[in-house]
C-alpha cells in the first residue's frame, strides 16, 4: 500500500525550478521506500491529486522563493501552504498547491496532509541549468526528505545496487556538425 507519495515538482526546463524532479530522480535510483512511492510530477496543476493515488500524505520537494540564501532547506507544513488561501484564478497555472490541499479537505478525496521540503531557488529562467549553489544543497535536501519520510513511518533503505538517476534532460548538448 502507498501511504506516502514523495513528489518532486517543478519545471525541468527552468533552471532551479527543476530541483524537485532532480532530487526525486536521485531518490528513485538510490533508495527503497516501503509503503511510499517516488514520483517526478513535473508541474502538476489541477490534476495534482490524480497522481497521488490513495496517499494519505504527500511529501513535496520543490524550489521555494523565501528570500533566504539560495540553497537553504526549509520544511513547510500544510498550514504554511494553505495560509494564504487560493488566488482568483485566471488560468490553470495559478498556484495549485494550496488549491489542491484545500480541495482535498473539502471533498475528502486526496491526501489529508502535506509536507514541503523547500530548497531556496537562485534563478528560475528558461533554459539555464540548475545553479551550482542549489545543486550543492541536494545532499542536504535528500537527508531532509529521508528524515521526513521516516517521521511518517516510511521505512527507507539504501539500494544495494543503485541505478544511475534518470536525469535525461541534464545531458550536455552535442554540437551539430556542419
Amino acid at each position: 500500500m502507498t501511504r506516502v507519495t514523495i513528489a518532486g515538482i517543478g519545471n525541468i526546463l527552468m533552471g532551479d525550478d527543476g530541483i524537485g524532479p532532480y532530487v526525486a530522480r536521485i531518490l528513485e535510483a538510490q533508495y527503497e521506500f516501503e509503503s511510499a512511492q517516488v514520483a517526478d510530477l513535473g508541474t502538476p496543476v489541477l490534476d495534482f491529486p490524480d497522481h497521488l493515488d490513495n496517499s494519505e500524505t504527500v511529501l513535496i520537494i520543490d524550489a521555494v522563493e523565501n528570500r533566504k540564501e539560495p540553497g537553504t532547506i526549509t520544511v513547510y507544513t500544510k498550514a504554511d501552504m494553505v495560509r494564504n488561501g487560493v488566488p482568483v484564478r485566471t488560468d490553470p497555472h495559478s498556484p495549485a498547491l494550496s488549491e489542491m490541499m484545500l480541495r482535498a479537505e473539502f471533498t475528502g478525496v486526496g491526501p489529508t496532509d502535506a509536507i514541503l521540503v523547500g530548497i531556496t531557488a537562485n534563478a528560475c529562467e528558461y533554459y539555464t541549468p540548475i545553479s551550482d549553489v542549489v545543486k550543492r544543497a541536494v545532499p542536504a535536501a535528500i537527508e531532509e526528505v529521508l528524515r521526513q519520510a521516516e517521521k511518517l513511518g516510511v521505512r527507507v533503505t539504501k539500494k544495494i545496487q543503485p541505478s544511475e538517476p534518470a536525469i535525461w534532460w541534464d545531458t550536455p548538448l552535442e554540437v551539430a556538425a556542419g
Binding site: 517526478d40 513535473g42 489541477l46 497522481h51 488560468d91 497555472h93 548538448l173 551539430a176
Partner: protein, 567 residues
C-alpha cells in the same frame, strides 16, 4: 469617466496572464492581454536529436504535456514524410480523445463554472426541487435528492466554520450572478462529481501512454506500445477492456451531465450571448487521423474569414499547404528584437528585448500569430464552426442538440450564429466534448478490430537524410490549433518553433494595430463593479487560457495572490 483595471495573478517570480482593460460608462472600451513571462523554449532544442524533442516539449507546460509531445513527433514525421502504422494512429487518437475529454470537463467545472455559479446561494437551495429540475434535464442516476443534500451540507458546514477554504475567493453575490439557488446547487454538485470523471479520463491517458503527467509511449514513427493479446506485459484484451470501461463512464458523464449543465446554464444566461465575439476569423486543423498517410480525419479542419460560415475553406491534410504558407508570427508589440517583425515559424527567431508595459508599444511576451496577415481565433468554437459550416455530420448532430437544449431553457430559438461569444465558447466546448465522447468508442473499436485482424505493427523507423528538411506537426488540442515547426539539418534540430493555441488567442496587437482575440472579445463587455471584474474573467476564461507553461516555485509569503488593481 475612464477607469483602468488590471487583473494580474502575481505568480511568484514571473507572472502569467495579465489583463488590462479601460472601462467607460460601465463597459470595456480598450483591452490589452499580456504574458509576463518569457518562453525561450525553442532555444532548448537547437542541436538536439529530433527523435527526443518530444520529451522536452511535453515539459513546456504542466497542463498540456500530451499535446506538445504529439505535435512534436508529428512535426518530425512530416519533415521525413513518414507513414504511421494504423495501430499507432488509433492509440494516439485514443490518448488525444481521453486527454481532450479530461481537459474540457476540468475547464468547465473547475476553471470557469464558478464565474456563473454562486456557491454562496446554495444554503437557500431546496435539494428536492434541485432533484426535480435535474431529472427534467437528464437521466443521470446520481441526481438524487440525497446527492444534492450531501453537497449542500458540505457548503453549509464550510460556511458555518467561517473558514471558506477552497471557496474563499469567488465573486459571490456579484450582481451578474443570476442562477436560482437550486441551479447553483445542481452545478456545484456536479463540480464535485466531475473530479471523479476527469480523473478516469486521465487514467486512460496513463494506461495507453505508460504514465501521466508525462506519457512515455511516443516515438517518431509511431508508438512503442507492444501489442500482444496473450501477454500480460503488453497491450492485451484485459487492458483494452479496462480502457473501454473507463471510457464508457466518462462518455456517460459528458452526455448526461456536462452537456445538460452547460446548455441549461447557457439558456439561463441567454442575455450573455451577445458579449465577447471579438475576432471572427476561425481556424482549426483536422485531427484524429484515420489512415497511415494522414489524409482522412474524424475532426474536420478549415478556416472561416470574418464570420462568413458559407465561405468556409477546408484543409485537406493536417499540414495543409494553405496552412503552412499562411502562418507568420508578428512581434511588433511583443518583447522581442527579431531581425524582422513578421517571420514564418521555420525562419522564426526568439531574441528577447524587454521594455516596460507600454500600451502603445511593446507590452507582452506573447508573439502574435497571424493567418494570411489576420488574427484568428482558435479553440473548440473554431472547430465546431468549421465543422458545422462544412456540414460535418457529427458536428451538426451535437451542435443542433445543444442549440435545441439551450433554446428550450431560454424560451426562444437560439441560432448557431449566437454561439460567437463568450457563452458560445462554453457551448462549443461541450459540443466538442460530446463529439469526442462518440469518437472515443469508435476509435477503441477501430483499434480492437485492427488488432483482431492480426496487425500488431506500431512503429516505422525514421531515417534522417543529409541536408536540411522542414516539417510542421499540427494537433487540434483542447485549447485549439497547435503547431510545432521544425527544421532538421543533417539529423539535428536547426530551428524549432511552437505556435500554441493561447498564443493565437492571447496575441497582442500586430503591425497593423489589429488586436488579438482576447483583446477584441473584451470590448463592450459590461463591468458592473470594477473592484470585482467578474465579466472580464467570464470572457477570458471562456477561451480556456493556458498561459505560460508554468514555473512552480512555492512562495510561502503569499505573493502569489492575484491582484485586481483599479486606477
Amino acid at each position: 469617466m475612464t477607469k483602468r483595471i488590471t487583473v494580474d495573478p502575481i505568480s511568484r517570480i514571473e507572472g502569467h496572464l495579465r489583463i488590462d482593460v479601460e472601462v467607460d460608462n460601465g463597459a470595456v472600451s480598450q483591452a490589452w492581454a499580456s504574458a509576463t513571462m518569457w518562453r525561450g523554449i525553442e532555444r532548448i532544442l537547437q542541436g538536439r536529436d529530433p527523435r527526443e524533442a518530444w520529451l522536452f516539449t511535453q515539459r513546456f507546460c504542466g497542463v498540456c504535456t500530451t499535446v506538445h509531445a504529439m505535435a512534436s513527433v508529428r512535426a518530425v514525421e512530416d519533415a521525413l514524410k513518414l507513414e504511421i502504422p494504423l495501430n499507432a494512429q488509433y492509440i494516439r487518437n485514443l490518448i488525444l480523445i481521453a486527454h481532450g475529454m479530461h481537459d474540457h470537463i476540468v475547464h468547465f467545472y473547475h476553471l470557469s463554472a464558478l464565474d456563473w455559479v454562486d456557491v454562496m446561494q446554495i444554503p437557500k437551495a431546496d435539494p428536492a426541487k434541485t432533484a426535480a429540475l435535474a431529472e427534467s434535464l437528464s437521466p443521470w442516476p446520481r441526481n438524487s435528492k440525497m446527492e444534492f443534500k450531501a453537497a449542500k451540507d458540505k457548503v453549509l458546514a464550510v460556511a458555518a466554520s467561517g473558514q471558506l477554504g477552497i471557496l474563499a475567493n469567488g465573486y459571490w453575490g456579484h450582481p451578474a450572478m443570476k442562477l436560482s439557488p437550486e441551479v447553483n446547487l445542481l452545478a456545484f454538485t456536479h463540480y464535485l462529481q466531475a473530479l471523479e470523471f476527469q480523473r478516469k479520463s486521465n487514467q486512460v491517458v496513463g494506461m495507453l501512454g505508460g504514465k501521466t503527467p508525462h506519457i512515455q509511449n511516443l516515438a517518431v514513427g509511431g508508438v512503442n506500445n507492444a501489442i500482444n493479446l496473450d501477454s500480460l506485459a503488453t497491450l492485451n484484451m484485459d487492458k483494452l477492456g479496462m480502457i473501454k470501461g473507463l471510457l464508457d463512464e466518462v462518455v456517460t458523464f459528458i452526455q448526461q451531465v456536462y452537456v445538460p449543465d452547460v446548455t441549461a446554464i447557457a439558456g439561463m444566461y441567454a442575455d450573455w450571448f451577445k458579449y465577447g465575439a471579438g475576432v471572427t476569423n476561425y481556424l482549426a486543423v483536422p485531427d484524429l487521423v484515420l489512415d497511415t498517410k494522414g489524409t482522412s480525419f474524424d475532426l474536420p479542419g478549415g478556416y472561416i474569414s470574418e464570420g462568413n460560415l458559407a465561405g468556409v475553406r477546408r484543409f485537406q491534410t493536417a499540414a495543409d499547404q494553405s496552412f503552412r504558407d499562411a502562418v507568420v508570427e508578428d512581434t511588433s508589440h511583443a518583447y522581442y528584437g527579431n531581425s524582422k517583425t513578421t517571420l514564418h515559424p521555420w525562419q522564426g527567431e526568439t531574441t528577447p528585448q524587454y521594455t516596460d508595459w507600454q500600451p502603445n508599444g511593446k507590452y507582452t511576451w506573447v508573439k502574435a500569430p497571424r493567418f494570411e496577415g489576420k488574427p484568428a481565433q482558435v479553440g473548440p468554437l473554431s472547430q465546431v464552426l468549421v465543422g458545422y459550416a462544412q456540414g460535418h455530420p457529427l458536428t451538426v448532430k451535437w451542435t443542433n442538440a445543444a442549440l435545441d437544449r439551450i433554446s428550450a431553457v431560454a424560451g426562444r430559438k437560439v441560432a448557431p450564429t449566437e454561439l460567437l461569444g463568450s457563452l458560445g465558447r462554453h457551448g462549443a466546448r461541450c459540443v466538442r466534448a460530446a463529439m469526442l465522447s462518440d469518437l472515443a468508442i469508435k476509435h477503441w473499436e477501430l483499434l480492437v478490430n485492427n488488432i483482431g485482424k492480426g496487425d500488431t505493427t506500431t512503429f516505422n523507423p525514421p531515417e534522417f537524410p543529409k541536408g536540411t528538411i522542414e516539417g510542421v506537426g499540427t494537433h487540434e488540442a483542447p485549447r485549439g490549433t497547435l503547431s510545432h515547426w521544425v527544421v532538421v539539418k543533417n539529423g539535428k534540430i536547426d530551428n524549432y518553433q511552437a505556435v500554441v493555441p493561447t498564443t493565437w488567442n492571447a496575441s497582442p496587437r500586430d503591425e497593423h494595430g489589429n488586436p488579438g482575440p482576447y483583446e477584441a472579445s473584451l470590448l463592450h463587455n459590461p463591468i458592473a463593479d470594477p473592484e470585482m471584474p467578474l465579466e472580464v474573467l467570464r470572457t477570458v476564461h471562456s477561451f480556456d487560457p493556458c498561459m505560460a507553461c508554468a514555473v512552480h516555485t512555492f512562495d510561502p509569503e503569499g505573493r502569489n495572490i492575484a491582484k485586481v488593481k483599479v486606477l
